[in-house]
């Protein structure tokens, strides 16, 4: 029997018991839409977190520091910090590599900040103001920029204001700061001496993380260097032209710097962003759980539907066998029918995904995730890769679910099938 005949018979077969076909199709469609929407939601979360880590937390794509800095740097900063000369040499080597968009030194510090009446601890990042602006390029999507709800996340140091510091919103409120007010900061220098300097309070920003929002400060690198009395940096941050080249660039730079005599450790933004990894792992597990449930429902729906179909059409199967359809033809016919049902269900599910996605995105729903300082919009992306994967897997599983009932039908003696009531 040629393909067109199989296809016609299978398609017409679906119309035999329309209600049952529709119920099975809807079960597949809703399952597909559940997976498609959740995949789209997590895709949006992953994308947002990636942008938040690379551009929002200013991690860049790669971070370079002396090997051991993370473990021993606090106890022995002089040994593990990068001197101004080292910063210059490494920066030159790294910047010459095609694909590196930006390389900038960074310096972390902590201490006490006061409003003249009360003091509190702070954690600060020293960064060159122009580099800070470049690192933040791309932190918001066009929709997020126009929505305005993320305006507080953008932080800008003015290169013309050498002692300007940007406090996080919580810290700004805690010490009742006002903009352009001078706030004394007390820190420990690299040599262990106390050092104090005034910073001019700039526009507060949302740290994005509730734990950091009452203690974080950005300041110009030069001011940070003055505070710790060290002209170098503790690390270099790299921004790449293509995020997909992160791993390849790490390998290339590790080799290049080692060849130049530098014992440098390079970390990717994923390795440094624990939050991203935790959220990714958690959502991957939830996705796997939902996927398994939906797949089970699809398999059971299709197997049940095809099992009933086979029983109802036993006499027809007997007739087809009598007039010349081989056993393999019967199996092929019913698995094709199941494949068509699954494909139609997936197509309906895809349509449902697009409609619900449009509705959710248009509704402009905001929510505040745990540990977040600000609300975020509930947005659903179109995760083409996982939708395609779901489409393919469901089609395979839906077809396999019909295999056993179809084989049972094919193996029935023709006479018994013809006599079925």
């Amino acid at each position: 029997m040629n393909r067109a005949t199989f296809f016609t018979l299978a398609l017409r077969g679906l119309t035999r018991n329309r209600r049952r076909s529709l119920v099975t199709l809807l079960a597949i469609a809703f399952g597909f839409a559940a997976i498609g929407l959740f995949a789209g939601y997590t895709h949006n979360i992953y994308d947002g977190l990636a942008r938040g880590s690379i551009h929002g937390e200013l991690l860049g794509h790669l971070t370079l520091n002396k090997r051991g800095m993370r473990e021993e740097g606090k106890l022995n900063p002089e040994r593990y910090m990068l001197s101004a000369e080292e910063v210059a040499k490494i920066s030159a080597l790294v910047a010459s590599e095609p694909g590196v968009k930006l390389v900038t030194p960074r310096l972390s510090l902590s201490g006490l900040i006061s409003n003249g009446r009360a003091s509190t601890i702070f954690i600060a990042e020293g960064i060159e103001p122009t580099a800070m602006n470049r690192l933040q390029e791309g932190v918001l999507t066009r929709e997020e920029r126009t929505s305005g709800i993320y305006d507080g996340l953008i932080k800008k140091l003015d290169p013309a204001k050498p002692i300007e510091i940007l406090p996080s919103r919580g810290l700004f409120d805690l010490l009742h700061f006002s903009q352009e007010e001078l706030a004394p900061m007390l820190v420990s220098t690299i040599a262990g001496q106390a050092n104090a300097l005034d910073g001019a309070i700039g526009k507060p920003f949302d740290a994005g993380n509730a734990g950091l929002n009452d203690k974080f400060i950005f300041m110009p690198l030069a001011l940070a260097q003055s505070l710790v009395d060290f002209g170098g940096a503790d690390r270099l941050t790299l921004l790449l032209a293509d995020a997909d080249q992160t791993e390849a660039m790490r390998a290339k730079l590790t080799q290049k710097l080692a060849a130049a005599g530098f014992d440098i450790e390079i970390k990717t933004w994923q390795e440094l962003s624990d939050f991203y990894n935790q959220v990714h792992t958690m959502f991957d597990m939830i996705f796997g759980f939902i996927f398994a449930i939906v797949l089970t429902v699809v398999v059971m729906s299709v197997a049940n539907s095809m099992g009933m179909t086979v029983v109802e059409r036993t006499r027809e199967i007997g007739t087809l066998r009598a007039i010349g359809l081989k056993r393999s033809g019967v199996v092929r016919l019913f698995t094709l029918e199941s494949l068509l049902l699954t494909l139609l269900g997936c197509a309906a599910g895809l349509l449902l995904t697009l409609l619900v996605r449009y509705g959710i995105n248009a509704a402009e729903i905001n929510y505040t995730p745990p540990n977040n300082a600000t609300p975020v919009p509930l947005l659903v992306d179109f995760d083409g890769v996982r939708i395609l994967f779901t489409f393919a897997l469901m089609s395979v599983v839906g077809t396999l679910a019909a295999f056993l009932p179809a084989r049972r039908a094919a193996n029935q003696p023709i006479v018994d099938a013809l006599g079925h009531v």
């Binding site: 029997m1 017409r12 077969g13 007997g318 066998r321 010349g324 081989k326 013809l418």
Partner: protein, 233 residues
């Protein structure tokens, strides 16, 4: 003197036993039978006499427990299922008591189905199906689905389906059992016409002695054995 024509179908000492729990029922008890090409033959007898079992074996959709069946000189016993299915699709047409048409296909699609199953060209199959439906007087019902046809019309479609593949033999098990007497006579008459026009062998079973008037040969089965095998005058 010319050699005698070999039979189209030859059954030799065919037994068919069914096992129901510990009980064994012997539905056919050593049937030996030759059926020649072009015959129009009725198998008749009371219920439970083994008519349907014999028809199933003649149609190669069941195998004897012992004995042999030859169609066109080939012993069917040694054939694997796929070979037997292919053999059936080329040599045998079936007409069933309950018509057994595919309800979601039109009359024409039902008739061309065995041709397509056999792997024939779609256009050629459609043309043959149209021809077969015209032959059985259903030119105006080609695109009607079975549920829009009367019982007699459905059985005509079934006969057209059986004949479309140009079989050597048509096996019709109780083709008139679900029809009124007028339609029954018309169906037997139609089969007779086709037998004469196309030279196709017809073997059918019936309860109705009135239909036996049309046949060349009638075989009376009783308790699984041939009680009488008579040529009509």
């Amino acid at each position: 003197m010319s050699a005698p024509t070999p039979p189209l179908l030859r059954l030799h000492d065919v037994h068919r036993r069914f096992h129901l729990g510990e009980t064994t029922i012997e539905a056919l008890k050593g049937i030996s039978l030759d059926i020649h090409s072009g015959e129009f033959l009725a198998v008749w007898g009371p219920s439970g006499s083994g008519k349907s079992t014999l028809m199933n074996i003649l149609g190669l959709i069941d195998a004897p427990s012992s004995g042999s069946v030859q169609l066109d000189g080939r012993d069917t016993h040694a054939m694997a299922d796929d070979e037997l299915t292919g053999f059936r699709s080329h040599k045998i047409g079936f007409v069933f008591q309950s018509f057994n048409l595919v309800p979601v296909l039109s009359a024409k699609e039902n008739v061309q189905l065995p041709l397509q199953i056999r792997g024939g060209d779609l256009i050629e199959a459609a043309a043959l199906a149209e021809r077969a439906l015209i032959d059985v007087g259903l030119a105006d019902f080609m695109h009607s689905r079975p549920d829009k046809l009367s019982g007699g019309q459905r059985q005509r479609v079934a006969i057209a389906r059986a004949l479309a593949v140009a079989p050597r033999v048509v096996i019709a098990d109780e083709p008139t059992a679900n029809l009124d007497s007028e339609n029954s006579a018309m169906i037997v008459e139609l089969m007779r016409e086709m037998n004469r026009a196309k030279g196709v062998t017809f073997i059918f079973t019936t309860h109705d002695p009135r239909l036996l008037a049309h046949v060349d040969r009638k075989i009376l089965l009783r308790d699984g054995a041939i009680a009488a095998d008579e040529e009509s005058v």
